[in-house]
Symmetry: C3
Subunit: 356 residues, 3 copies
């Protein structure tokens, strides 16, 4: 797909590669990004709303060389801030909180280089395009239904994902029996996805343009409230209380898959990178994640992706990871990997290629 030149690439041409900095928006995975920049000797600029700055980041001053504190998230990328970041030769790392604060549309136009593919963020914000991209990549996904009635007929439990649902909020599990009573009730932009039973696996990838490879750097499992607490109640009590499962992401646990699964995981990681480039006209740069469930017959059904750093990588902040140790002899985790790519790209005159 042909594309106009990205605004980030235009801007980065004016940068001094020997003085490039990393701009890290607060929350989500900011702490590991800051720690990673420090490990690589890349100066980091923290962007934070006052409330978060004071309650979290002010405690870790050695992790950044400069901080931009704003009064509200909306100002995070105001004209003044963008100007300051450009003067500092700063490359922005996008993550889910940033998208939530300023919106995927605004990031699209932002006149600041971004380590990542900004056009993918736009796709990620739309369920239909998001799941379509996975399918287009040739990755196995759970069945999709056009309606709850169709799901009821198939006898499959489904997850209904509402438009704008994020961090697991706005998801609802519907049984075939319930689906029959709910026909026609779907809001515009919602998707109905088969609920596949199995072990969930969130795979963390990094597409390195400097090294010309997709690296698998880790895996995690999300703990969600209330569903991961409900399991600890006796069945009769769940019934007595009538609590429905919900899926707010609270925490993450490190996990490692059986080795033979890597054939599929690595293949999917690479397929996804190729599909993104085909679809957006720009390479998939840096961190992303495929999020799925492994069935008893060892299929990996990918139900979502994150087109940027995923918070599950936080389980490895400051550490070597089991998978990173297959590529790197020194401790390597996603936050550090981002800074490494930026540092190496700057040193090799490849800055324009690793940003959009």
């Amino acid at each position: 797909m042909a594309r106009a030149r990205s605004p980030g690439r235009e801007v980065v041409r004016g940068y001094d590669p020997s003085r490039v900095r990393l701009a890290v928006p607060a929350s989500h995975s900011a702490l590991q990004l800051l720690r990673g920049a420090r490990d690589e000797g890349v100066e980091a600029i923290l962007l934070a709303a006052r409330r978060y700055y004071e309650s979290i980041y002010s405690r870790f001053p050695w992790l950044y060389s400069r901080v931009v504190v704003v009064d509200s998230w909306g100002e995070l990328l105001s004209g003044r801030v963008v100007e300051e970041l450009r003067e500092a030769n700063a490359v922005l790392v996008p993550h889910a909180s940033l998208i939530e604060y300023v919106g995927a549309e605004r990031l699209l136009e932002l006149e600041l280089p971004m380590l990542g593919n900004r056009y993918l963020l736009e796709i990620e914000a739309d369920w239909e395009r998001k799941l379509g991209l996975l399918e287009e990549a040739g990755i196995e996904t759970p069945r999709r239904f056009r309606s709850l009635g169709e799901a009821a007929e198939a006898g499959a439990p489904v997850i209904v994902k509402l438009p704008g649902a994020k961090g697991g909020r706005g998801y609802r599990l519907v049984s075939p029996r319930e689906a029959r009573g709910l026909e026609g009730a779907l809001p515009q932009g919602a998707v109905v996805q088969e609920y596949v039973v199995g072990v969930r696996l969130y795979s963390h990838f990094f597409n390195s343009l400097v090294h010309g490879r997709v690296e698998l750097l880790g895996m995690d499992l999300r703990l969600e409230s209330n569903v991961d607490g409900l399991q600890r109640l006796p069945p009769r009590l769940v019934e007595e209380l009538g609590i429905e499962p919900s899926y707010t992401v609270v925490a993450n646990v490190p996990v490692v898959a059986r080795e033979s699964l890597l054939a599929r995981v690595l293949d999917y990681g690479e397929r996804f990178a190729r599909a993104v480039e085909r679809e957006t006209g720009y390479p998939l740069v840096g961190p992303y994640s495929l999020e799925g469930v492994v069935t008893e017959s060892l299929e990996y059904k990918v139900f979502e992706f994150s087109g940027r750093i995923v918070a599950g990588t936080n389980v490895y902040t400051g550490l070597q990871t089991p998978y990173a140790s297959l590529y790197w002899s020194e401790p390597m985790y996603m936050g550090r990997r981002v800074a490494r790519e930026l540092r190496e790209a700057a040193a090799r005159g490849m800055l324009e290629q690793v940003v959009t």
Copy 2:
């Protein structure tokens, strides 16, 4: 709250700071404390009952420079042993097993410096004072009921915690329906706490008087028997077998929370330290933990605390932890952090401040 001078502070004034040692009681978290002392070049003295010494600690002789083996836990802090420890300039690290062996009351009078707040151990041993301290600190806690009848009326499932319950034993889950049949059956000193459904989070803190800050060093999740096994049975089988959940702590898993939760977690950690100092007249020194559950609306309901090192920190024995990496560039885990504080306090003439 005014306090007489603590016995530990009196004793430590007679110590030679250049030859201070760490006394580590066997079991609980002894292995990481020993490993940590070794990492910091602090000599460790292991105190162990013969049975545990022979079955566990005799296998790791490089982890301590001296061992005191006694025939029964009761002798662990006999006059002879205390004398020997004082001559060795030893500072004792209290943990839950030590409290179980010798009792919180006896620790209160012990003429030996303790890295930790001994007056907090006394509070921890009494449910009413324990939960009261959390509330006093301004930390969100689950609702408490004065009786099972009150809980039944509120329609809330509850955990009944019997006096002396520890390691999860002596806990019982009661549904609203059951509560109606059990009114008036509560023994003296038991508490009735709402059972909050969500993801459990055990946060590990270290209050450093040397560095003047509360550090968040890790998080874990407890695995409890039988409740974490029951979940793997089909609902109908749980009903058929009629098994009730129980909560004996068996193991721990490392976990990392979503970053925005840290605002609350760090705040609670600091609030707790301040409340302990207000309540006991002595600072909260060294390791402690807040133990709670995160709801689907991301509240952190703290249902208990540990006023000393918590065994869940064992998941990081000998390793860097994701959170410690935000404060420390070298690998840092709770056992090492304890030895570091002792070493630094000794070097800076602050020994008296870090003990009670």
Copy 3:
């Protein structure tokens, strides 16, 4: 038990100890074995079927110095390959995938030294002998029943393990009620084991002949599909869908046990090593694992073992582990531990002792 001289020991006598190499069959735990060999400066030869080589191992060329690619698993240890390995002074590391590819019987006769006890692999392949060995070692195991009828009478839920079941496939949970309807339906070679409710604990051991000790190097928890997904469904939905639990191993999570359990875990690890030597006439060399469940009264009921490296050790690939840190100051994980033993045995003229 008297034994003829093992074929591996015969062959290794002709090796040049200063040029010994490690032969690592693809899949299972190959990546950590390769990484470990690299850490220890031991050259590794990877043996892989083409499909796996291309989809996984070709991406990590720095992890091995030579690769033998075959067209099918059956050729993995063909005469030609064995010849090449012998010329390269290669010692083979067996694992579950290798056993699956070429069969335990063929490994018994293989004229190649193996780091491990090949006679134990034979025992492991037979449920009756496998569980008998645990019992003979004096390790607590779940009750065994001769028939489903006996289990029904005892009122105990059971797991039926079919002959050849592996990786958790071919296991079936049967409730007392169901057992009554299934009497007499057991195939030859199946076992009926009480299903013990509690927290599962997979303990990773290494028996070092060079250091004369059994080391506990880690623990993990298996995630199995579909059973670990089923728990996240509301009870009524499990009933509505009528899904039965299944046990295909998908992934592993690192875990640490409460310290007092180590008395039992370490004792069992050593008992098992002694029993294997009594039973096979050869020492238990290198990695193995005990797999069990801890009850609410803290018994450790071991339901299976792995007489070679277990895939759960992959959670620590390239890392220090909490337990390894009690024996080793440098990062040590199972893959590296294997290479370390080989390197040290070669240097001390002990090669013959560490192979069969």
